[in-house]
């Protein structure tokens, strides 16, 4: 009964979304206030309906209703409650419903916080967002219905993939989707501006906080995914350049370029058509990611089960929305002038260079991810493009961007002078070079790449702090400095981990010791343990350093009973300057075990850096300028007259 209600809610939502988008967009074209007025309440209703449907699905999971096919495929009565709930987004259909729900949430947020926008603009933005909802609801109802029944109902479900039975599952997809889907707001603003034929500084100012917040969520979502893979998968890796990871990284790179570009358009009215293009691209990459994950064109550990019908539908949505936006762009931007002018050395130039680098980086990830597919489609055989490729090409492109990150914030708008900048920055340069090149010695062995990375990171920190030294300090400026410092922290983490990590795969019997990174690991014994839905072998490993005992770790090797799959639960000792990572492998003859022990220096700085970046973004997004008040209405009048 309840699943049927959920399905009805989705059908109603589809009708509401379609109606809302048509009336809002047509109303804006004809300046018909009545039609446009539907947009806000319709958007709220849409969100409520989708939320209700989502609630029905979660309910089915909680009460173990295995007559719903999706629940039967992704749950089990022995599954702990929190994972039954998270299982609602563990498979294709449910995660799509989550996507649509989050789209509804963003749409409602825009409906609520857009009072200060001219009515036509708000209507257009909401119209486009509802159009996107229409597409996804249709996709669900026609090809991926989470409420399809499975009759006769099986006695029990096939269980959630053990890899997903983890707190990471509760947080990572929702955060990631908040980011992915959040870029639809920037997209909608861009399309609305194109439709209105007005691409001025005000559009950028309206769009900016929404884009920044989406970017913050995406940063957190990707960081969570990486951290989760690190402790869940058992072999200590945190980024694999897997197609699905790349699918989330590309929008992030594009989104970063976008928030910088919006800053220029807002302040100086320059880059207008590039900013619009970036806004379209960021969401296009989100849609592309959705396609890549669910269509089966690429192999990935993250991919959902494949059905060609679904691939075709999403490709259709992608072609329609992005193609439509690009066609609109081609049509409308022909008439847009260049916007404000600026000198070759100016903040605008540095930001433009930054955008070029970020776009090249996104393009590179795009090339590497899709090249095997392209080559195969053209009959050129099958190749693999793995981490070795990405690392080789990505670093040379990002390194200059990091360097510019130090200079840009100090350059003046419109016209700056290189000699002046050089004088300002000379001490920062000297200190970062010296310290950066000397610090690796403190870690034990000198490595040129480590010196390079540390110098760049220090440079960014020192130059960022320099930029605060004078002038009014707005929250936006603090946000920028914090985000840049977060990036530097991230770079430090990556550099040091890659430079100095150490591991050993050892055959250990109880009583054996292994040494890694200056720490001793003693396997005391392995015991059998039963969990709620698994059987496990649990090892007791004592860690000591220079004879002093530090901690006892308990890595496990679990056999999940329903799917009969084996999983290793690594035991990690987290520290500010290093992680100690122990995972239990296969049992060997003679009571021995294969144990993998790893020393990961400064690895938590990677995710720490991401969180600091996100915090910086949050600071910037909540700057006073974006807090809407009656003032805003008057500002608009002034802008129009100018």
């Amino acid at each position: 009964m309840i699943p049927e209600l959920g399905q009805v809610a989705l059908s109603l939502a589809l009708a509401v979304a379609l109606f809302a988008s048509v009336s809002a967009l047509a109303g804006a074209e004809k300046s018909n206030a009545e039609w446009m007025a539907f947009a806000r309440p319709a958007s709220q209703s849409l969100t409520l309906l989708v939320a209700f449907a989502f609630g029905c699905l979660v309910h089915a999971f909680v009460v173990n209703d295995f007559s719903v096919a999706y629940v039967a495929n992704n749950s089990n009565s022995a599954l702990p409650l929190q994972y039954r709930v998270a299982g609602a987004w563990g498979g294709h259909e449910g995660s799509l419903l989550l996507w649509t729900l989050i789209l509804g949430v963003w749409t409602s947020a825009v409906a609520l916080f857009s009072r200060h926008l001219p009515e036509e603009m708000a209507a257009r933005v909401l119209g486009v967002m509802n159009l996107i909802s229409t597409g996804f609801l249709a996709f669900m109802l026609f090809t991926s219905n989470p409420f399809d029944r499975l009759l006769p109902a099986p006695a029990d479900g096939r269980d959630l993939n053990p890899l997903l039975q983890d707190p990471g599952m509760v947080l990572h997809p929702p955060m990631l989707y908040m980011g992915y889907v959040g870029f639809s707001v920037a997209f909608s603003f861009a399309v609305a501006a194109l439709l209105a034929g007005r691409l001025d500084a005000t559009w950028a100012r309206w769009s900016r906080p929404w884009t920044t917040v989406a970017w913050v969520f995406l940063t957190i979502g990707i960081a969570l995914g990486s951290g989760w893979a690190y402790y869940e998968l058992g072999w200590g890796g945190w980024w694999f350049w897997d197609p699905v990871e790349n699918a989330s990284f590309m929008p992030w790179l594009c989104g970063t370029a976008l928030i910088h570009s919006l800053a220029v358009t807002e302040k100086r009215g320059a880059f207008r058509s590039w900013t619009v293009l970036l806004a379209i691209f960021a969401f296009a990459l989100s849609l592309l990611g959705t396609f890549l994950v669910r269509s089966g064109v690429l192999t990935s550990v993250h991919a959902f089960a494949v059905d060609p019908k679904r691939g075709v539908f999403i490709l259709g949505l992608f072609a329609l929305f992005v193609g439509g936006a690009l066609a609109l762009y081609a049509w409308r931007t022909a008439r847009i002038g260049l916007g404000g002018s600026f000198a070759p050395v100016s903040r605008e130039s540095f930001l433009l260079a930054n955008n070029v680098l970020l776009a090249a980086a996104a393009g590179t990830v795009f090339l590497g991810t899709l090249y095997p597919l392209a080559l195969d489609a053209l009959g050129g055989g099958k190749i693999s493009v793995g981490p070795q490729y990405f690392e080789a090409v990505f670093v040379p492109i990002m390194a200059p961007a990091l360097f510019l990150m130090g200079i840009g914030p100090l350059a003046r708008w419109k016209h700056s002078s290189l000699p002046e900048l050089a004088v300002l920055l000379r001490w920062a340069l000297a200190v970062s070079l010296t310290l950066g090149l000397l610090l690796p010695l403190a870690m034990g062995s000198w490595k040129p790449m480590v010196g390079f990375g540390l110098s760049l990171a220090l440079w960014v920190v020192l130059a960022s702090l320099l930029s605060l030294r004078k002038g009014a300090r707005t929250r936006s400026q603090y946000g920028m400095v914090v985000a840049h410092i977060g990036m530097a922290v991230f770079v430090v983490g990556v550099t040091l981990v890659k430079g100095y990590e150490a591991e050993k795969d050892a055959r250990m019997r109880p009583g054996d010791t292994v040494e890694v990174g200056g720490y001793s690991f003693l396997l005391e014994g392995v015991a059998d343990v039963a969990g709620p839905n698994y059987q496990a072998a649990r090892a007791k490993v004592s860690v000591s350093r220079e004879g002093r005992p530090l901690r006892v770790l308990h890595p496990e090797r679990r056999l999940y009973t329903v799917q009969q799959s084996v999983m290793t639960e690594a035991a990690i000792d987290t520290g500010l300057t290093r992680d100690l990572y122990v995972s239990l492998g296969d049992p060997l003859e003679g009571g021995a075990w294969l144990v993998k022990v790893q020393y990961k220096p400064f690895i938590d700085w990677i995710w720490g850096g991401c969180l600091i970046m996100a915090l910086g973004g949050l600071l910037a997004a909540t700057d006073r300028r974006y807090r809407f008040s009656l003032q805003a209405k008057q500002d608009n009048v002034v802008e129009a007259a100018a």
């Binding site: 064109v297 690009l326 022909a334």
Partner: protein, 176 residues
Amino acid sequence: MSSRALWVLGIFVALVALLAAGLTLNPREVPSPLVGKAAPPFELPLLSEPDKRFASKDRLGSVWLLNVWASWCVSCRDEHPVLLELAKSGAVPIYGLNYKDKREDGLRWLAAYGDPYRLSVIDAEGRIGIDYGVYGVPETYVIDKRGFIRYKQIGPVTRETLAQKILPLVGQLSRE
């Protein structure tokens, strides 16, 4: 329309076309680089009589199929009726490579489902499988008179592939 916009649109259309083509491909299927090259020679014990051995070079001068199977392989059961029909028709001899299996399990499986093979050899550790680039089971190779691999079927042999690809090829190779 600005030229920049036209470029972007053009690239976009190409991208969509590429992705559409991608939907028809299978990213997990690995084509064999051995097609057109000499079949790696092997000499292995028979599944049924462990003291006797069979060498691939014994087959030089005639066309034959090498079918990689295992008792633990579920899809092998799907293709087995097709192989049995093929064996009965006598169009081309099928030799079996029992891959990473236990002798008793292999024999029991053949007894239960039928034996279409002239003979089966057993590759218990999978080393010959590695030489042939086997990565999944079942796989079938068409080998010509000179001992060259001319076709590799990845996955179960179906009646369609038999009729459309394998038998015509065998016919052509027999006439060489």
